[in-house]
């Protein structure tokens, strides 16, 4: 008989591990990845490949050779960051820009703070925003999806970009909408200009539902973002439909669904309690709408999430779970 193991209780453990949770996130992202490859073709595959590969390699190299500690590649968090970064970029982004994004995401936003669990801001979003302000040309050359093996893309504006452009030129929302030929059914399924991950709302929502069913994330953050965006846009649109876009348009366009389902719900950079999550979501929704309506960028989800990320420690302190038997 071998020696008995002795340890403090509990003696059994749940099946969840960091790796299994991250694997679930990767699985949840697969529909969106498949959709984006279908719509954008092999170029999107290149962006995805470069992004994931460089995130994983950078994480390995930095942890092993610079920080001189055990590599954390095995927990798959770098893979998640890689996929999310790729889904946040237009498929036309050159490979070296993607690589720089990965360097900022993994090297600066994640490992500088001490690696998984320690970062304040969502790494993929920091990478994305860094590229957005550093390489605006590449980052705003949106292209309409042309399908797998389709001919080269035609440059075009995203719906949000078109709206902002149009408003600057003095047109009303109705005119812009009519000109762009936007249709909500089409938005839900796909076929709009934008980042890869913005193309198919249904695929992203399917992933979100998978995560909720698997109890990887709780739905409150995402739902409160959607609710806030809908409410804020309803109020503004109700007041002046010629100047402000309507709720459905705001829910379905841009990176809102990707951000609300996958970026805002990142464990590390979101509050832990349910009510903290709701406040966090309301903040993101509100800031997103303010940036969209009044900011100089057409899209504000990334900025809104990053700003609210900074408030997470405060939210965690203010919103604690009710303790048993205490007021």
């Amino acid at each position: 008989m071998s020696k008995l193991i002795v340890s403090p209780n509990p003696h059994i453990h749940s099946k969840d591990s960091t790796q299994s949770l991250m694997r679930d996130v990767v699985i949840a992202l697969i529909p969106a990845v498949i959709c984006s490859v279908l719509f954008y073709g092999w170029k999107e595959l290149l962006v995805l490949g470069v992004s994931v590969a460089s995130c994983v390699l950078l994480e390995y190299a930095i942890t092993r050779y610079m920080l001189k500690r055990a590599s954390t590649v095995g927990d798959l968090s770098a893979v998640v960051t890689g996929i999310l970064l790729a889904l946040n970029l237009p498929y036309t982004t050159p490979w070296w820009v993607v690589f720089i994004g990965a360097v900022v995401a993994i090297g600066v936003a994640k490992l500088t703070f001490g690696g998984i669990g320690q970062n304040i801001w969502n790494p993929a979003l920091v990478g994305r925003v860094f590229l957005l302000v550093s390489f605006p040309t590449y980052m705003t050359t949106w292209a309409k999806p042309q399908g797998l093996f389709g001919i080269d893309a035609i440059s075009g504006a995203t719906p949000l970009g078109a709206v902002q452009e149009g408003l600057l030129q003095g047109s009303s929302i109705q005119e812009i909408m009519a000109e762009g030929g936007y249709d909500y059914g089409q938005m839900l399924l796909a076929n709009l200009g934008g980042s890869a991950g913005e193309v198919c709302a249904l695929a992203l929502l399917a992933g979100f539902i998978y995560l909720c069913v698997r109890r990887v994330i709780k739905p409150w953050i995402t739902l409160s973002i959607f609710a806030t965006v809908a409410l804020v846009s309803l109020i503004f649109w109700g007041v002046n439909p010629a100047r402000f876009t309507d709720p459905a348009f705001n829910l379905l366009t841009g990176g809102l669904i990707l951000g609300a389902c996958f970026m805002a719900t990142d464990y590390v950079t979101s509050p832990m309690s349910v009510w903290g999550g709701v406040i966090f979501g309301v903040g993101i929704g509100f800031l997103t709408m303010m940036i969209r309506y009044f900011g100089s960028y057409p899209e504000g989800v990334s900025f809104a999430i990053l700003i609210m990320n900074s408030f997470v420690p405060l939210i965690n302190m203010a919103f604690k779970q009710k303790k048993y038997g205490r007021k």
């Binding site: 008989m1 008995l4 403090p8 059994i12 949770l21 954390t72 464990y267 832990m272 303790k323």
Partner: protein
Amino acid sequence: MARTFSIGGVHPHDSKISRECRIEPLPIPPTVYLGVAQHIGAPAKPLVAVGDKVKVGQPIAEPGGFVSAFVHSSVSGTVKSIGPRKDLAGKDQLTIEIAVEGDDWLEGIDTSDTLVTEIPADSKAILDKIRLGGVVGLGGATFPTHVKLSPPPGSKCECLIINGCECEPYLTSDFRTLLEKGEQVVVGAAILQQVLGHVRCVFGIEVNKPEAIAHIREVIAKLGYKDMEVLPLRKRYPQGGEKQLIDAVMHRQVGSGALPISVGAVVQNVATALAVYDAVQKNKPVIDNSVTVTGECFPKQANLLVRVGTPLSFIIDHLGGMPADAAKVISGGPMMGRAIANLDAATLKGTSALLFLTEKQTRRAPESACIRCGKCADACPMGLEPFLLNRLAKAGGRLEDLEANAVQDCIECGCCLYSCPARIPLLDNIRLAKGEVLGAIRARAAAAKAAAEAAKK
């Protein structure tokens, strides 16, 4: 939807693989080892000397304080030695060793199976019988029952809760007791009801034991007890925790550091109710208890009626010896039980199970970084934040912060460590910090008391 407690909790697979095994008596071992510290509180003081002849049910150690209990000989024979012996954790405990000779019971103990439903009218006499019978809480805490049944002046009991949750995976001894000795348990509950002043009595039983729920309902109807009911509870760990059960049954929460009686509740385990029945109706002290022997790797599942003080190795050998792939033996359930370091140790009154786990089932994965998922905080049935307490505990010297974050409320149920995906040893550290904070609180209370007395003079 069945009721449950309001905060936290986890859902481990219930693995009740021994649920069909009837409670069978285990043969009496050649020697028993009876520790004098089988309960919470002061250890008992031996009443016998080496060489004395003792009978089954004879008291061999008397309470060493107010919160303490009698220990009775579980066998008949000769006292061989009184001295330190290693317990299941390898620590020395004063132990009375008795060499077994025959099975000669003390006069006055009713060993027949007849159900005695007539309850003595005098509550004082009942309490005395419970005290003399050495009855302690057999749900695991082993708190002397007569102390729990004597509420401090000014507090009043409104509801007696009989804890039949058995929310720990694998354990089935309470379930089998409910099925096979339901009448005795119900009469025991009625006795407790009377002692507490004819209060309402609720059997809390989880819905994964439908047979027990039906059987106890039937028994209550048959015996015609008033104010006694069965409340099915949703399956969720740690429902059997005293505070959680009160929350589930009465929707009341016991304040930090307060006793259940402060919200009008008294909770007694099923096995305790049976022990009360035996002590009051049959004059039989706590000399045996039912123990579940189980585990997927253990060849024979069993529920055994074991004399207190039986060496664990005797039980294992009786059932065919240690399985080759068992890596851990646990006294109790997998969530709150204690891993056994010394198989020569003997059972105690509160031993409810022997569980065998394989290395794969029990080995902790290496610790990785906290990903701030908050699963520990979601799981904590006391609403604490284990991740925060763990950090504070590891920082050292943060007793004030730990107290402000209620580390002293921790019930050590293990939900945090069970649910942590990064396998951070949360409970290991929190338990230590809890001990330190409780020590500081006690020291402060003692100092305040001393100051008050000094002021009086």
